[in-house]
Amino acid sequence: MQEDINKRIVDDFVANDVSFVTTVPCKQLAGVIDEIDARKDIHHIPSNKEDEGMGLCAGAFMGGKRPAIIMQNTAIGVTINTLATLTQYYRMPLPMLISYRGELGEPVACQVEMAVHTKALLAQLHIPTYHFHHRDDVEELDKIIKYTFMCNKPVAILTDASFWGGY
């Protein structure tokens, strides 16, 4: 079942011609990152920090590829300047598949500290935000990716522990 959801997510990216994906790992995202890495249609560049990854994605977009970033919500804090002055300022599309740590089922208390700020920060940045809580929420992913490249904006997809089926 877990493998199915990872495959389903990556299938949607590939079907929308997303061919350049940068990742910073999270335990919740391990399966989807493995799946990204295994696909020959996707150039996977692991990055050391999320703002660096957003720079890579900006370059890939200007090179004619559709990019995406996979990261943890704790990184929203370190990417605000990049989102505002690069991705948004130059009007570039960027689907952000984000693990929403610190939600129901979270075992690590410190993760809650950024979870409580995550949606507020995204709202402050006027970033369209979708929250995947139930397994069926993945049905919207295809439309969200299309929407991202239609409007040339960064778009956040928060995926919580309930969506991933716990830890």
Binding site: F20, N48, E52, G55, A58, A60, M62, T82, L86
Partner: protein
């Protein structure tokens, strides 16, 4: 030599290439010396010139030169392992290392003291790293372009800035004309 003198000297080489230029005074200087649609000027986001350049080089075949500074590389030091481990033969990272944060008042950087960015790049796994004197930048850059190998150039020069106007071009215009130059 200071950065603006180097940029003047290498402008004829840069003119025919895709250039991603670092935030602040470097972009203002390049814009004033030789504005080209094939120049992507960073108006914000310190540190990401090398990341944007690598992403661009990996996504299309034309040569890409990222003009970076020692302070900006230090702020995004994680870029060097990413560059080393994802080599693109069409990518050149030109670090103009004047040992100072030029755009903010020439405060000294650690690269101007004990830290060697060339050695850091080598330790990160970058295979072709050339440290050169300011006067040799044009020759080293042309050799790197001719080699077709990913090259990190650390050009040691003096601290100082030319007084140039702020870039007032809209970012979407900069991006649009740059993308047209990429796909031309």
């Amino acid at each position: 030599m200071i950065r603006s003198e180097i940029l003047k000297e290498i402008a004829p080489i840069l003119r025919d290439q895709l250039v991603v230029c670092n935030i602040g005074i470097p972009s203002q200087e390049l814009h004033a010396i030789d504005d080209q649609p094939s120049n992507f000027y960073m108006l914000g986001t310190m540190g990401l010139a090398s990341s944007i350049g690598l992403g661009l080089a990996l996504s299309q075949p034309k040569p890409v030169i990222s003009i970076d500074g020692d302070g900006s590389v230090l702020t995004n030091l994680g870029t060097l392992p990413t560059i080393a481990n994802n080599p693109a033969g069409n990518f050149i990272l030109l670090i103009i290392d004047n040992g100072s944060y030029g755009s903010t008042g020439d405060q000294p950087t650690y690269a101007g003291r004990k830290t060697s960015l060339a050695k850091v790049a080598e330790a990160c796994g970058c295979e072709t790293v050339v440290e050169c004197a300011a006067e040799d930048t044009g020759r080293v850059l042309q050799e790197a372009l001719d080699s077709g190998e990913m090259t990190i150039i650390v050009c040691k020069c003096e601290s100082g800035n030319a007084k140039m106007p702020v870039i007032t071009m809209d970012p979407v215009v900069i991006r649009d004309r740059f993308m047209k130059a990429v796909s031309a």
